[in-house]
């Protein structure tokens, strides 16, 4: 006979308590609909723990109880009303313009996950952070945060990092508990940092704008990740035995032979050495290789010039009030940039401004040249930089704000210092990050930026993000194929991408008023078809079909799971309202006469407790419809509440007995790592989640500042 497991004991006790509570507290003699509503609310927790698929538990309870509610009014038509209600609710979920983003984000996540770049990402981040205390743990956290944010699939991230980082950390002598806590907590960040599915689900349930939630959750998400990282670093500093510094050879960055040769012959600093080698030539290394390295080394400079150039263009253009720095970085979703430009362009909305400054609408060719040069030819930053400042002098535009020059000088100083520090090992680290960290970061920032800046709806951004995920997967999987094969593919790829990018660049120039004719429709259609053709070609050549098929099927299954849960929750909460349950809860809560703070603490504590047996989807779809209507009594912003809930639900993944992250990790951890160790390791991180919640409560601006910038 095996011993009773603790989670069984906890669960069974909870169920028994609730059932006894119902039996004892219900006034059976004077039962009214409100009481039935409360019974329904208690029963759902019990029913959920029975292990039946939650979506159908909710639907079933909803249908049964709405029938009870209708029957109490008019038994003759109760069945018909119940049936109609169920269908109307299901149809409501089917036509939700918020939830439509869910399958698209899922699709993006599955594609990015299968692009198979987590190993490169971890390796690059690990090398880049090698010198700071607790470097492996920090690298794990960063990798988890970035990868989990891009994919949003907590289970996959925890499993992958359990396979990848855990052995490395244990080998390096890291404490088992710390190691497991870092991975379990880090992987969970994916549901918090936007773009995440959880915020869409909350938005759809609570009727809060997903756009504002995304803007709001950005800094709290970064804050939590930052707190995790600081905690690990401090711990490693105070107790080095838990996270020993890496051995010297593990910190060493292996240089490819040709770079080592350049370093030896042309100097230690990467940029001047490569410039010298490129101009003068090298005895052994072909110039093509050298120029490629030079192009990589000058990328930061090019990016800086491009960003400052576009910012300047935006700042000095009439009626352009905000800057575009955040958006310029998106290589993947260039459309969003264009939309940004449209948002800022005067257009039809404010024609007087254009009339007031007729000469300004058509900018002189000099600036056009600047933007045109900077965009397609990042390899020539040296020429582009002076051009940018010359353009500023002979402009007939608005005066450049002094802050711009300040930023420019500071940026240039940072660049100079950066290049003075850029030796060849650092260049190699930069290159590794460039091929792993930056594409993901750009994808995330592109999707998120276009949503927050209001250029695209979450749905549109998610679709573009899914295409971005596909492009990532295609390129990364292509890089794993033999070189000869790739050589044969590149020409066709380059032509098709060229046609596609032509349209994008044309559009950017049109929006920046450099060219006056809009993109020709035929040309535009052809370029879109070129992209499609490339996609088909890539699927065929790189053998992407299995990857695509798997992602498609998983997307369907997970969307069905989330959206059917919504169907169930929608019917359930309709029944709850019909029974007047909301009224009873409201009266009861108001009779407690709590202050807003007490109310917040109580609800967050309940959510925290619910996180033990239930998963975040269930908690949100069942309990948010109950809590959110109460918020107005206490003057609490549902957006702010949502951010607290989002942070709080991090613990739902980590708190025993029902801790998905811990279970995923246990599934792949070496056998000597016990579940108890994983739970104990997660505890400090759960405490840090609470710390972050307290911080958000004390300084709500962390979450509310960014939405206020755009939507007030």
């Amino acid at each position: 006979m095996k011993k009773l497991k603790p989670e069984v004991a906890v669960g069974a006790t909870l169920m028994a308590l609730i059932l006894i509570g119902i039996a004892v507290l219900t006034p059976w003699s004077s039962l009214n609909n409100g009481h039935i509503g409360i019974i329904m609310l208690c029963l759902i927790v019990v029913a959920m723990m029975m292990g039946f698929p939650s979506a159908f538990t909710l639907t079933g309870l909803g249908v049964l109880f709405s029938w009870l509610a209708y029957r109490s009014v008019d038994p003759n038509i109760a069945v018909r009303q119940t049936l109609d209600l169920a269908v109307q609710r299901a149809y409501g979920v089917m036509t939700s313009d918020v939830l439509i983003a869910v399958p698209l984000f899922l699709f993006m996540g599955y594609l990015v996950e299968r692009a198979n770049l987590i190993k490169k990402l971890f390796h690059a981040v690990h090398i880049a952070t090698a010198r700071i205390p607790g470097s492996l743990a920090v690298a794990t956290l960063v990798t988890c945060a970035v990868f989990a944010t891009a994919t949003g699939i907590v289970g996959a991230v925890v499993t992958l990092m359990g396979l990848l980082a855990m052995p490395a950390m244990l080998r390096a002598g890291y404490d088992t508990k710390l190691t497991s806590g870092v991975i379990a907590a880090g992987g969970t960040l994916g549901i918090l940092i936007p773009p995440s599915i959880m915020l869409i689900v909350y938005g759809a349930t609570a009727g809060v704008s997903v756009v504002q939630l995304y803007a709001g959750a950005f800094f709290p998400g970064l804050l939590l990740a930052g707190i995790y990282i600081v905690y690990v670093m401090v711990l490693a500093k105070l107790k080095p035995q838990l996270a020993p510094p890496l051995a010297e050879e593990a910190r060493h960055v292996p240089l490819p032979p040709h770079l080592a040769a350049v370093a030896q012959r042309h100097g230690r600093l990467a940029l001047p050495a490569l410039l010298r080698a490129c101009v003068a030539g090298d005895a052994e290394i072909p110039r093509r290789v050298l120029c490629k390295e030079l192009a990589i080394a000058s990328l930061p400079l090019a990016a800086f010039v491009l960003i400052m150039g576009l910012t300047w263009n935006a700042l000095t253009k009439p009626d352009e009030t905000y800057d575009t720095t955040g958006l310029v970085e998106m290589g993947v979703t260039a459309e969003a940039l264009d939309q940004k430009a449209e948002g800022g362009a005067p257009g039809i909305a404010e024609p007087p401004a254009e009339e007031a400054a007729p000469g300004i609408a058509e900018p002189p060719a000099a600036e056009g040249a600047t933007a045109a040069e900077a965009t397609p030819a990042p390899q020539k930053p040296a020429e582009a930089a002076p051009a940018a400042s010359h353009g500023a002098k002979k402009t007939s535009r608005l005066p450049t704000p002094p802050a711009f020059w300040k930023v420019l000088w500071i940026g240039m100083a940072v660049l100079v210092v950066g290049y003075l520090l850029l030796n060849f090992p650092r260049l190699e680290v930069f290159r590794m990050l460039l091929t792993s960290f930056f594409p993901l970061a750009l994808l995330i920032l592109g999707v998120l930026g276009s949503i927050i800046f209001g250029l695209a709806t979450p749905t549109e951004a998610a679709a573009i993000g899914a295409l971005g995920g596909f492009v990532l997967a295609a390129f990364y999987l292509a890089l794993e194929k033999p070189k000869e094969m790739r050589r044969r593919w590149w020409p066709a790829w380059a032509v098709l991408w060229g046609i596609f990018l032509f349209s994008i660049v044309w559009f950017i120039l049109y929006r920046a008023q450099v060219v006056s004719t809009p993109l020709d429709r035929t040309v535009g259609t052809i370029s879109m078809l070129a992209f499609l053709l490339w996609a088909v070609l890539a699927v065929h050549q790189v053998k992407l079909l299995p990857v695509l098929t798997e992602s498609v099927f998983l997307t369907a299954k997970t969307s069905a799971m989330v959206c059917w849960l919504f169907v169930g929750a929608s019917i359930y909460s309709a029944a709850f309202s019909l029974l007047g349950g909301h009224q009873v809860v409201e009266n009861w809560v108001l009779s407690l006469d709590m202050s807003p703070t007490q109310f917040l603490i109580l609800t967050q504590f309940i959510i925290f407790l619910l996180g033990w047996p239930l998963e975040w989807t269930e908690i949100i779809v069942i309990f948010m419809p109950i809590f959110v209507p109460l918020l107005s009594h206490y003057g609490i912003d549902p957006l702010f509440f949502g951010l607290l809930v989002a942070l709080n639900l991090q613990t739902a993944f980590l708190s025993p007995p029902m801790a998905p992250s811990a279970f995923y990790l246990k599934g792949v951890a070496p056998p000597q790592v016990t579940l108890t160790q994983i739970f104990l390791g997660s505890m400090p991180f759960m405490a840090l989640v609470i710390v972050s919640m307290v911080m958000l409560y004390i300084w709500p601006q962390i979450g509310l500042w960014l939405p206020a910038q755009f939507y007030k």
């Binding site: 669960g11 029913a47 039946f52 399958p103 699709f107 490169k120 993109l519 059917w564």
Partner: protein, 193 residues
Amino acid sequence: MQNFLLAVDRLSTFIGRFFAWAIVLLTLMVAWEVFSRYLLLNPHAWALDAQIMLYGILFMMAGAYALAHQAHVRGDILYASFSPRVQAAIDLILYGLFYFPSVLALTWAGWNFANESLAIRENTFSPEPLPLYPFKFVIPVAGALLMLQGVVEVLRCVICLRDNRWPPRSKDVEEIDVEELKAMVKDAPEVRE
């Protein structure tokens, strides 16, 4: 018997997978519309309606598929520690109590709902209307599929009650396929480009 169960699984899976490709269509459609609206200055009034329909079809038709492969989330804190026989007993009761009433409601009332829409040839509310009634017929069709899959699941419960062992299911792609993820982490060659 087992053949019948697996055949229904295959049917649900086939239909679910067929409509799963709607996500590719949806992605391309949204992207195309973004491109067309911003770059070609040529928006389409029907695009959003069509996108929403694709999304609705996608998840409704995948409901039975997800059920056949146990992808619906369960609160399995207690459930997982029960013997198969107890699990089957619980499932059997709850299929009768929760599942069939609600799925029946969807199928039956959904059929009327869609037919009413068909009777008036209902269109979307838009300057460029699309017919809405085919979309509404998705509800009864998805309901019928769920019903069929539900019968299969009940039969599985009965078999499990008899044998104290869950009858096998066909394999499908899993979100967390440890073997596959292992291969991903191990085989990824270090690439330099």
